[in-house]
Symmetry: C2
Subunit: 234 residues, 2 copies
DNA sequence: CGGCATCCGGGAAGATACTG
DNA sequence: CAGTATCTTCCCGGATGCCG
C-alpha cells in the first residue's frame, strides 16, 4: 500500500507571481533542470538518465520524474513491441525550455570557476554546440557531421546559418568523430588541436571538422572583480 | 566567536562541465536566483531584499549573499556619507544574468499553474515589462512613464523599439501610475480595464498608458497535455 | 535488470528569538 | 536595521530490498 505521501502540495514554493519564480517552482528542485536537459534530444530510459546525470540517486530521480510529469513537462511512454521499454520524454511545452539552457549556459561559461574538463553528457555536448554556434562565422556553409560518443550516436547538420542536432545514426555524414564528450568539447570550444587530444578519432573528411570548429567561439571570462583593495572607485 | 563552518566548500555541486549545470552551481541554491533578480535594477539594502523576497528568512538571505559574493556575482558596498548605509549590488558579470529571467519567465508564463495574482515585487514588474515587450507592437512609439509602487518609484522609457526601466523618480513622465505591482500587472499583461482595478490611479495622460498596455502580449498557455484518453485530438 | 519503495544520516531551509 | 544564534523540519544522498 502506498501512502501517497499527501502528494506534497509543495508549501516549499515561492509565493511569487514573477515568471522566473514560477519557473523555479517548476524546475528549481535539485536535478530537475538537468533531467529536462537530458530529455531535450528525445526520450530516454531511467537507467540512461541515471548514468548521464552523474551522481543522482535513484530515489531522487524517481521523485523528479514524478514531479515533472505532474507539472506537465514530462510524459511517461511505453515503446511499441518488441522494444516494450518504458521511456520518459519531454512534452511539447517541456521542449520549449531549451532556450533556458542557451542563455544560462552562455552566461555561466563566463564564470572564472567553470571547469570544462569535468564529465559531460552527449546531450550536453550537442546543446553546447547550439549554444555557442555563431551564424556569422558559419556563413553559407552546409555540412553534416556524426559523433560517436560512447554508447550515444549523434548527428549535427549546419545549413542556412543554423545548426541542428539530433540523436541517431549519422548516415550521410561527411565526417564522423569518435571520442568522449569532454574531448570533443576541448576540440570545438577549447580549439585544442586534434592531434593533441589522445583518444579522439576523426574518420572521413577531416577538413570538414576543422571548418566546423571555426563556427564557435567562447565568450570571454568575466572579470574576477579584482582584489577589493582600499583603492578608490572611479 | 564564529565557527566559520569550514566555509562549506560545497560538495553539493553538480560535477558536470555543462554550462547550465555550472550555472546551477552558481545560482541554483534556493532563493539565489531571486536575490539576483532583486539586484537587476540597482543596489538594495538587506531589509529591502528581505521584504521583497516574500518569505525568505534572515539567515538564508545572509548565506546567499555571502555565497553570491564569493562567486563574484554580488558586491557589498557602503554608500557615501551622509547615507552611510551598506548595500548589495550585482557585479558587471552578475548583471549579465538578466536574459535568464527573460527566457525563464517567458517560458514559465505558459504554465497552466501560473498564478499572476500572487505578490509581485517592483523589480519583478519592471522585468516582466522587459520580458513581454514586443517591439513590433510598439513601432516608432516614444513615451516615458512613471510607476509608484508602494515605497518604490520606477521609470520606464519606450523608444526606438526598445524598453528601458530603472529605479528613480519619474520626472518628465507623461503619465504616472500608482498601484500595487500585481494590479499594474493585471492591467498591462492581463489587459484588465483600469476602471476595474480598484486601487489603481493613473495621473497625467491616461491615453499614453493605454497605448503602453498595447505593447505587450502574453504567450498562450501550454496544452495541459489533456487526459491521454483514446479520444481524437482536433 | 529496470523501476520504484523504504529506511537512515547529514545538512540545508524555515521560523523565531536575540544582539550590536 | 542588519544581521547572528538556535531549534525544528524536511530535502537530499546513499544503501537496501521488492517486484515485474
Amino acid at each position: 500500500m502506498k501512502l501517497e505521501k499527501i502528494t506534497n502540495d509543495k508549501a516549499r514554493r515561492y509565493h511569487d507571481a514573477c515568471g522566473a519564480a514560477h519557473g523555479l517552482d517548476l524546475v528549481g528542485d535539485r536535478w530537475a533542470l538537468l533531467v529536462m536537459r537530458e530529455l531535450m534530444l528525445g526520450p530516454r530510459r531511467f537507467g540512461d538518465l541515471r548514468r548521464d546525470l552523474c551522481g543522482v540517486s535513484a530515489n531522487v530521480l524517481t521523485q523528479r520524474l514524478e514531479g515533472l510529469e505532474a507539472s506537465g513537462l514530462v510524459r511517461k511512454r511505453k515503446l511499441a513491441p518488441p522494444a516494450s521499454v518504458q521511456v520518459y520524454e519531454a512534452t511539447e511545452w517541456g521542449l520549449e525550455i531549451e532556450p533556458v539552457f542557451m542563455v544560462l549556459g552562455r552566461w555561466a561559461a563566463r564564470s572564472p570557476s567553470h571547469d570544462p574538463t569535468l564529465p559531460l553528457s552527449a546531450v550536453s555536448l550537442m546543446l553546447s554546440f547550439k549554444t555557442m554556434f555563431d551564424p556569422r562565422l558559419a556563413g553559407e556553409a552546409r555540412m553534416t557531421l556524426g559523433f560517436v560518443l560512447g554508447e550515444d550516436r549523434m548527428a549535427v547538420r549546419v545549413a542556412d546559418g543554423r545548426l541542428e542536432a539530433w540523436r541517431g545514426e549519422p548516415k550521410g555524414a561527411e565526417v564522423v568523430v569518435t571520442a568522449a564528450p569532454p574531448l570533443v568539447a576541448a576540440a570545438v570550444h577549447g580549439k585544442a588541436p586534434p592531434e593533441a587530444l589522445d583518444g579522439m578519432r576523426v574518420a572521413g573528411d577531416a577538413a570538414v571538422f576543422e571548418r566546423f570548429v571555426g563556427f564557435f567561439h567562447m565568450p570571454p571570462k568575466a572579470e574576477t572583480a579584482g582584489a577589493q583593495v582600499a583603492g578608490s572607485e572611479p
